[in-house]
């Protein structure tokens, strides 16, 4: 994924393998087996990670999250995209460009 071109709703998001995942007092924590780095995705990030157990489009993710968290879809999409870009930079997920 290039950072110059913003994500759109058709982009498909998938987890990468090789991470240990657990719960620490209600927050999702992860450790990359490849890099040995630790992450705290928090509770909302943890929910997104759970949803990514199967490949999702950005639009599908935003739809579920906007209904679960009672937030405007446009606001939700902005925040989700930021989060996914962060995960991509850390090599935790893979984004495939939609049509």
């Amino acid at each position: 994924m290039t950072t110059t071109k913003p994500m759109n709703g058709e982009d498909r998001v998938m987890r990468k393998e090789g991470n240990l995942v657990s719960d620490m007092g209600g927050e999702k924590v992860m450790m990359s087996i490849h890099t040995g780095k630790y992450y705290n995705l928090g509770s909302t990030g943890g929910r997104i990670w759970d949803l990514l157990s199967e490949e999702q489009t950005l639009a599908e993710l935003v739809e579920v999250l906007a209904s679960e968290y009672d937030i405007e879809p446009a606001v939700c999409q902005d925040q989700v995209v930021q989060f996914l870009e962060h995960l991509t930079q850390e090599g935790l997920i893979e984004v495939t460009r939609g049509e």
């Binding site: 657990s22 620490m24 007092g25 630790y38």
Partner: protein, 315 residues
């Protein structure tokens, strides 16, 4: 006489190999065999080792078992969390064989049984366990000895065995009543080395029987302290800092006893879940100090002071 039932780390061990460091279960008979958790047997593993054909590697995991070889000492096989089979090399020193049974073998059995073995010591203060982890020589045993001399009994030295009670609290099981101390610690306590046997292969480390200050019942865990001495020559006072969040995970993973054998057995996810759960339920601190002086009593007083201030509120 043999086999004998022993008690350590919350488990019953029926051993054909004499383990004088451990507590013997009084009045146990052959008919009590149903209460035995782990059998320790002596048998010739040579043909099995050759069958496994492991090449140059000295540690191999397969199907819930771990097999390892130590040059000039013997072969060790741990199976499904309930059996240790030992083949001592002809002429091997029994003390050295015991170091591996009491250390690596027992820790692997714990991992196989989902008991977390941390590398450290623990003492009991006001009904709660406080564990001290750190690298070799960081002062874990010395600090627990200093606390024992202030009247807080030793629960375990070297391996802290953690399980969970029905309410989800982390519980530390008693180890066995012996401490290993280095020469400078004996000096610090005014002990004489000629009174104690050396721990084999560690010629300046002494085995101290501590029956008189051993706590032989399980206790819930309140906090883990990592001892992180700095090597500087300049004296810097003892400092106590809280460790938060993700750093706890890293600390607890890195102080797991024989942590390299965890992922080898396919238990990395189990360890990560276990330390995450532990991190959320206890306090975690780091204690630093530097300089050449013997500071165990100063550290002990800081810890007692901290604990007694009631910063920890329990659950």
């Amino acid at each position: 006489m043999l086999p004998v039932q022993y008690e350590a780390y919350g488990l019953r061990w029926l051993s054909q190999f004499p383990l004088p460091e451990l507590q013997i279960v009084q009045g146990s008979t052959e008919s009590d065999a149903a209460t035995v958790d782990v059998h320790i047997q002596i048998a010739d593993l040579t043909s099995r080792w050759n069958e496994w054909d492991v090449g140059k590697d000295n540690f191999v995991a397969r199907d819930g078992s771990l097999f390892f070889r130590i040059e000039d000492i013997g072969l060790f096989f741990m199976e499904q969390g309930n059996r240790i089979i030992v083949s001592p090399e002809p002429g091997a020193d029994n003390k050295k064989v015991r170091l591996f049974i009491l250390g690596t073998c027992m820790a692997v059995i714990m991992m196989q049984r989902s008991i977390l073995p941390l590398h450290g010591s623990a003492v009991v203060i006001d009904g709660w366990a406080y564990a001290f982890v750190g690298h070799s020589g960081a002062g874990k045993s010395t600090l627990s000895a200093a606390l024992a001399s202030r009247g807080y009994p030793l629960l375990t030295d070297d391996v802290v065995a953690l399980t969970w009670d029905a309410g989800g609290r982390a519980i530390v099981s008693p180890g066995y009543p012996q401490q290993k101390l280095w020469q400078p610690s004996l000096d610090g306590f005014g002990m004489k080395e000629q009174d104690y046997a050396t721990v084999h292969a560690e010629i300046t480390k002494y085995a101290i029987p501590v029956q008189h200050y051993f706590h032989d019942r399980s206790v819930p865990l309140a906090a883990v302290f990592e001892l992180d001495p700095k090597p500087e020559d300049v004296q810097i006072p003892v400092q106590l800092m809280e460790v938060a969040g993700l750093e706890r995970l890293h600390m607890l993973c890195s102080h797991t006893f024989r942590s390299g054998l965890v992922s080898r057995q396919g238990l990395a996810q189990w360890l990560f879940e276990t330390v995450s759960r532990l991190s959320a339920s206890i306090e975690v601190f780091r204690i630093t100090r530097s300089g050449p002086d013997f500071t165990a009593f100063e550290m002990a007083d800081r810890i007692i002071d901290h604990v007694r201030k009631g910063v920890y509120t329990g659950q």
